[in-house]
């Protein structure tokens, strides 16, 4: 946070080791549904995770989020029941082999995780007209998601696993937690220390779905349009190479070179 003499427009980049730390956090973050330890998260660690969320960007500086922390077995068990009900319904939506795989995936760690947090969005936090929300009313929910992602990265850096459980009826969750009509439950999170972080996303290692090649989803000037410019061609090539290197044994070694 030191002030530096300004030496040109690229001068605000962080040091290589600082950037490496950020990318390491991003690439090793996992959605954690198992491996939770009962070990309590110290208040200073949880405080930092919440403050990381609070420093997310928000439309019109609205800061529309609230964090409801659940620690009691009773409340967590009631939430788990909501999950089980929705999970049974969801299972019926898949067919054949896919249904069997779905049924056998571990998709939540609600009662194992010492801390659960319901992150909500208050659409009335800053009055009816919000700067930047006038033409996209979902912007406040999107801001709340930015807070969740900051928390996820902070948690990873603190060695705390975090999982997002979305398989439940949001209306029933609102009723259970006493959330008023105008407040939206955006994310239900489970946090705790873990025995390990998986090398790959679980849905990847269990064969549910592959990591897609990013270069296929980068367009130029128009949706799904390619470009013959040198910049575009070099970028697409670079993305392909970097993504390939990221699958290697020591991905960060080469990620920041050049």
């Amino acid at each position: 946070m030191e002030k530096q003499k300004y030496n040109g427009p690229t001068d605000h980049s962080f040091t290589k080791s600082e950037r490496e730390a950020l990318y390491k956090t991003i690439f090793t973050r996992r959605d954690v549904r198992a491996q939770f330890s009962r070990k309590e998260i110290p208040v200073d660690v949880l405080s930092r995770i919440l403050l990381a969320g609070h420093h997310a960007p928000s439309v019109g500086f609205m800061q529309p989020w609230s964090f409801t922390i659940l620690q009691s077995e009773q409340k967590k068990t009631a939430v788990l029941e909501l999950f089980k009900e929705a999970h049974a319904q969801a299972t019926e939506m898949f067919e054949g082999e896919r249904q069997d795989t779905y049924r056998n995936l571990k998709l939540e760690g609600i009662t194992e995780a010492p801390i659960n947090i319901c992150v909500t969005c208050d659409k009335d936090r800053a009055g009816p007209v919000v700067l930047g929300r006038t033409h996209m009313m979902e912007m406040d929910e999107y801001s709340t998601v930015c807070a969740v992602q900051n928390m996820w990265l902070a948690a990873r850096s603190e060695g705390v696993g975090m999982g997002w459980v979305s398989i439940m009826d949001p209306e029933k969750l609102k009723k259970l937690l006493g959330i008023p009509e105008n407040i939206i439950p955006v994310a239900y999170l489970c946090l705790g220390y873990v025995s390990h972080f998986n090398d790959q996303p679980e849905l990847q290692s269990k064969g549910w779905r592959e990591r897609l090649p990013l270069a296929d989803f980068v367009n130029f000037e128009e949706f799904q349009a390619t470009s013959d410019s040198d910049y575009a061609k070099t970028l697409i090539q670079k993305i392909g190479e970097s993504q390939k290197n990221l699958q290697g044994d020591d991905p960060l070694k080469t990620f920041l070179e050049n």
Copy 2:
């Protein structure tokens, strides 16, 4: 990314300097609407920013995002017209002094920023039934927002400013960029090197809205409920102290010192 011998559940935390780098990135990230330099963003830097986005969490490992990169003056100017139209409409929604302030804020850097990126969400990327989206159909948009937040942090660490422009009619943007009906434009981003990053969010320094006290929005067991447990009381106290310290001259100095 080195493998470590497992020494207990807190053993997966990063080093103090690595965690400090992450928090520094989170706390100094800004929504940038001005100060853009014309200096080109090198392809390897943009590639890293996009790959950071691609490694966001996504519901059912859906990876529903696409990135449409705009560099042409023609397209950017057309997008700027969409902003101007929406901005004029929005101005009328504010009253009195607030309207004057709104009118004078610089809310976009569309044509000044060398790179614009429209981040879209393809709700059909993984078929009609998506693991984790069965009871919350907006989860794929939320995943796309996680990608945006990863990009924002990566950009900050690279010294690249990024701003999210939400003041435009999404339907008109879709038409302009040839985005099909089933694809949602989640974020329109402006990226470029900058003369400086502001110390505070602009809406804070210009008196539009204050940073809220986080402790007021942390609840226990139920929405807006407090708790008398030692954990809850200590956490609330810690959050208040840490947030106060974050407003000091060298906030990171004490942030990680419990």
